[in-house]
Symmetry: D4
Subunit: 251 residues, 8 copies
């Protein structure tokens, strides 16, 4: 917003705008619907289009937002959808793309600018695959190239070494694990890249909900591992995006 203010300062100084007009300009430019406020400067500020978090919204709320985007011909991606919501939305919006195994509905017309570098998405087990698919989809939307390595967890530690070369060539490592969540620690001890650890809500008893994986990752004895919320594939993708974009900045 500061950029905007600086620009408005300049325009008022130049006599192009009154103070009141300046304030109104801000308000109008970022219209508000009934229950929703479109953040039109996010792309400019943070570099990515609207990503709607569908998990805690009702189908009605999602539809209202989607209608707006559709009407304004804006790209979007909606995450965190369960099968029931996808079924309803599919009927309503047959023109959108749906990826059920990733819990995603999207409508992207423009090709995102290609981000340099590559992300590796590594999971400990088969059960973590949904988070991996969500992460991969979002990375694609953000213009990030990525590769997946599924089911190479710690119980059979030799599986990691199979892909050592491929992993070593990635610029950021997203590591997803449930249960005891040991995989990011092992990966972080072998590889020097940034590691974004994602606890998965896989398991039962004390593992239920992903808490033991979360604590394990935060406690990791391998230095420099960072963690996002449980099942937060979106957050991991965004973190990788931030990291790769940062690497392109002239330093």
């Amino acid at each position: 917003m500061e950029n905007k203010i600086a620009e408005l300062f300049a325009r008022i100084e130049a006599g192009e705008l009154s103070a009141d007009e300046a304030l109104n300009l801000i308000k109008k430019n970022e219209m508000i619907g009934d229950d929703y406020f479109i953040d039109r400067h996010r792309k400019q500020r943070l570099g990515f289009d609207e990503i709607i978090f569908g998990m805690s919204k009702t189908v009605d709320q999602i539809a209202k937002i989607t209608d707006k985007y559709k009407q304004e011909k804006l790209d979007f991606i909606c995450t965190g959808l369960d099968d029931r919501k996808i079924d309803i939305l599919k009927k309503r919006y047959p023109e959108f793309e749906f990826i059920p195994k990733a819990g995603i509905m999207k409508n992207i017309s423009s090709v995102p600018p290609k981000i340099k570098g590559k992300a590796a998405i590594i999971t400990a087990g088969t059960s973590d695959a949904k988070v991996a698919h969500e992460t991969g989809e979002i990375l694609n939307c953000l213009g990030v190239n990525c590769e997946k390595f599924i089911d190479i967890g710690v119980a059979g530690i030799h599986r990691i070494f199979h892909f050592k070369k491929e992993i070593a060539e990635s610029n950021v490592l997203i590591v997803i694990a449930g249960m005891e969540g040991a995989l990011p620690t092992v990966i972080g001890g072998i590889f020097a890249q940034p590691v974004v650890a994602v606890p998965a809500s896989v398991g039962y008893g004390v593992s239920a909900g992903g808490y033991s994986a979360l604590l394990s990752m935060l406690s990791s004895c391998a230095g420099g591992i960072t963690v996002v919320n449980i099942d937060n594939g979106f957050g991991a993708a965004m973190a990788a995006f931030r990291i790769l974009k940062s690497g392109q900045v002239e330093k």
Copy 2:
């Protein structure tokens, strides 16, 4: 006790004992002090001498019990002693043996019967050493042969492979780790022996108190790992003792 009852049944039947005499015999044989009850059948029942848990007892309570054992010339080992308690007890009982780095005071005159097999005590870091030393001392008292492998944790996973041969020759593996507690999972994925995992109260933030290590070990994706309480070197030693003794039973 059932054995005893069976024996008493037999003796009453044989007319050697009246019913009343039988009941009194039980009571007398297991005398009680003021605040303490000596379990004289434990060795017969479970195969080990008295091990006094000193952590939650006052020095006065420990001394009262110790005096009794001393007077009756009974062997004992007292665990969970901090430096302050050791200092006081050392002055009072110069004839006893003290191992401060293991938090132990003991008075053992008899050589325990040798248990077949060997235990490996493996720790993730230097900070876990105290628990390892306690475990080792108790195993010695129980007649169990053991070897220690300190500071070979997961952050540098190649360190495990250095000792692969030695570990593979042990019959039971006691694995101690704090922080994210990943070591038992990795060990359990490589080796086929029984693994007794001990969470250590090493770390800060979410690792503080050993809870993340505990949860990680209980959640382990490597099948068949069992866990004892945090810092419970005594429990791990007893479990190894139970396992090794069980292996000697004719099957």
Copy 3:
């Protein structure tokens, strides 16, 4: 894997293999499907066939893995299945065996090598029976002989004594209890064998989810009790298997 590497070292030294061929050999030999990675060395490393954890996998994922095993004529056991999943899978794989009260689907053609010794599976109540049945099934697949003692919990402590002789003849005791989880402590105070305690998610209020039983078992005043995750019948069976196999090793 080290064994393999040692063997490959030897073969390269012998000129049978180039370094590159050695690396490729490892990769090929452990093929990967789309979402799943078959660990072909597990049996050699740890001594047991594939056990698939079905609880956190979708029916589709289970089916994909199962198809692979079926096609390759490999034995497997799949655990943690609820009634809904069993119904679907039963229709798809009428040739497999289903044990709903244990939550298990399996396809085992070979007879496992008999493990020496015997395991006792003891439960506190009727409600813990499902975990006991799962444990028993897996032990059978692993070649372990076992006997069940259901509903002999602490509230009527005399029930334990009825089976004292049978329990005393087992080489490892798996004790399953929900609610206050006191049974392993009592068992561990009477019997000298290894005790593997399994908290059951039986109860309501503070017992809900099995946490009070878990804490109770970890806190046990009876030395040498070890614990696995809540409802983890698989883990308990594997631990017993490790213990009994360890007892057969020449010491």
Copy 4:
């Protein structure tokens, strides 16, 4: 208070009192100090004298209250005192009685009316003794006869049977245990009397602070066990007092 109001209604009706005088009478009769409010009707309402909870009060606050009681020649008992507070208070009030092993200071001149019946105080270990001593002292002040059975916990379950007869003759059983807290469950399964379970803050790791014992007691599979706060010897004594007094009521 209602009793009082009823009486005042009657007196106003009888013309002995104006409405305003009635309200003032209530206020005066229950004078307030600076930081403390003496509850002069408690004995009449609940049947016991003032018991001051000293744990969360500063020595200064305790002294201010004590001075008041001393000056008015009122009996009191002050609980929850650590060694430091006892040392300071002992110097200031040499005329009072101090029981350090129970954490108690008291000044009781009158003999309490004897309550019918007897309470048994049973502890699992030596470490629980302090709570037992506090409980015993308060019961004495309340006129309740009691007997202590220390260190007869579950790990050696036969110890309970030694005192079966004595325990069976008590009218209420106060059972104190730390660690896994199994003793009240076992006691409750054998004996038919009211059981008041007291978790003790004995133990380390998951037992620390008495939480596993608390959960275990609340989860007990033995019907009708009731629980008080951790280390709450005062509460247990009061509960026993309420129970025994209730038994004396004509029914």
Copy 5:
């Protein structure tokens, strides 16, 4: 069991029984079904008939147990049944009595011996009524006279005073409350009888599951309140039964 053993001692001594016969007698007398163990001495030991906890049992398990009781013409009460289970069981056992609002199925032919004294069941709100009804039903089965006072919680504290006389005439007070659980504290400050507090799983957010009520009751500043598990109407009834029976013992 000790009684039994004492009796057997005597009979062996008298030559009526051999030692072996004595052991067999115990086993036979307490037959075991497949998944269930009937505790035939409970009534003698603790004074009440079988109460089956139906919540964590499957309908099949309940039916198996019920069939046994039916066939042996034994009285029973089964608690913790939800509407689905009641519907199924009602069809199968039309001859039994069902009380859905209490979650209970029962088959009681004999009139229980009348226990002297009276219990008051007090709830804070309408939502706690189910627990109150369960408690009341069980008390009836145990021969205890009781009266209910529903929805007189702390938010309108004058409601308690309406029933002061009736409550004061009861010998034990069972107080059920969810949310902040303050009612037992207020009741315990006004009345001198034993108070058994039952946290109810009423509420949302931090009250969800009854935990804040539980902690509140355990923390109560009113001395001598005892607590049972959340929603544990059965436990509260049993505690009241123990208390009232204890009051009848000759002291």
Copy 6:
């Protein structure tokens, strides 16, 4: 009640009433149904009509209470209703008003006295809207004027500044947020009015259930923010009502 007692004192003194009549008057005036106790003095004491908390009541219990209110022609509002309950109640009471997006059923005939001042209801996201709607409805029933600002959370902090003027003109700010719950802190740092923060149960992983938002709000570094239970729109409305009414009192 005290007011009442004072009045009754006066009337007895005046000879208009006997003491007994006074006591009966209290009882009669606050009739009790079977499971429910109408608090007829609440409006007089606290200034608002009956608000029934429908979440933890069964439809039957709600209907019984509603029938009573209908029959006595009393206003009420019933909150916390999910879609299933609303469907059933709508059929039964077509004459009542239902607001599903707020979870509310109501029957209000009288216009509440207008409270001076205005409340702002501010939410961080679209997902928090249900709580906002409940809050708004209750405020209307209480005669409080309010305005809603939906979806202006911290991730795009400039959105707050758009409504700075409108927010600044409100007398009390109700701020609803899930996830990390940062919005009340930011609001409280900018505006000087009373802030009532409502954690919303929006989010997954560590945010699930609203706990991270709750802790965040209680920990706020912005002084003077107060917090109500998770999703407690009712409580927030009542707090605002108390605050605005207090402002009208002559000081």
Copy 7:
């Protein structure tokens, strides 16, 4: 800050300021020290002077800040000081005022503008007094008139009624309680004013740290109670200040 921006807009428009000058003005006006940033607009924005939270700062950090305030002759109040810090600071700043029982150091030269209305500070016990004193001191600094009612908790509920008139005349009620934290619920059921509940870290076992009081207050069945962090006397004072100031606004 917006006010400032609006003003700057106007001044730029008026030609008094260039855009660059405007930006620099903001930065300069809010100078920064080494480790500390004085918020010079807080009084203007929120209406109160600097209150330094001393609990988590070292004595050195406090001294650095204090020196700055002293040198600039600015008023301040520093809270959360323990006895050790107060001793050190007293020697260094003999000219400041210290209130150890409230944990406060302050240097206030100007008389704050009188806020209309009155706050009542009510505590459940003697042990909560420190929080009450802190609250009172801060209210004084903020120009708020207040009265304290100490030790009138729920265990003797009649004590509240003694002060009914005085409490009823206050405009906002700050209610401090540890243990089971029931007092705010009872107060909130009797009085119609805003209630700010403060959990106190008084108690042991499950009450330790103030958590049971916190949950109890958040769960309160009395509508419209709001809560601040445990022991947060500062927050309660600030909330009362916000409320009373809001009441003075022209509506």
Copy 8:
């Protein structure tokens, strides 16, 4: 290690080495002390020298490790030291450098290779400074340029805008906050760079230990924020190091 193995494969193939010699080479090259295992390949693997975590080690253990490094003339940095440990170590190693405000002892002779890019270290308050200083020291040792912005937290949100330009020029943002931990969310909503959030153990009540800040950061509604353990300045520095190094890789 794989690199090493690949190299050894090649050398064996080339006939330079026998298979046995290859295995021994690995073991020797990574000598082990008594309680400590130097990881000589870490720098090669991960790019940084040894960083010793001093918090959970005794002074004796630290000294033993330090002696080894000193004797071998190796650089090291030891973190997590409290004042007591620093005092003892200072006397023993006067030649080392100590930074008490960062809890660090170090001995670095070589200048680290300069890493491109810059890190910003931002804290919410003065109390978070220690973590910031630790982070800064480690970054320096790793060759990373960094700048600190202390005490610019959310309660006065305008303070962030003062440094907008400087922050915008950094390539990675380390944001440290205790209490409600809202700062990373706000920063992440304004700036597009990678954000590494560090919860600080600042606060009391529910903030104590840094848990509310941790949960808040993991729950952040601003996409792509990653989190490390509470007070984990070391982890944050390592994460920034990984990110900046990754940015230099040719992509």
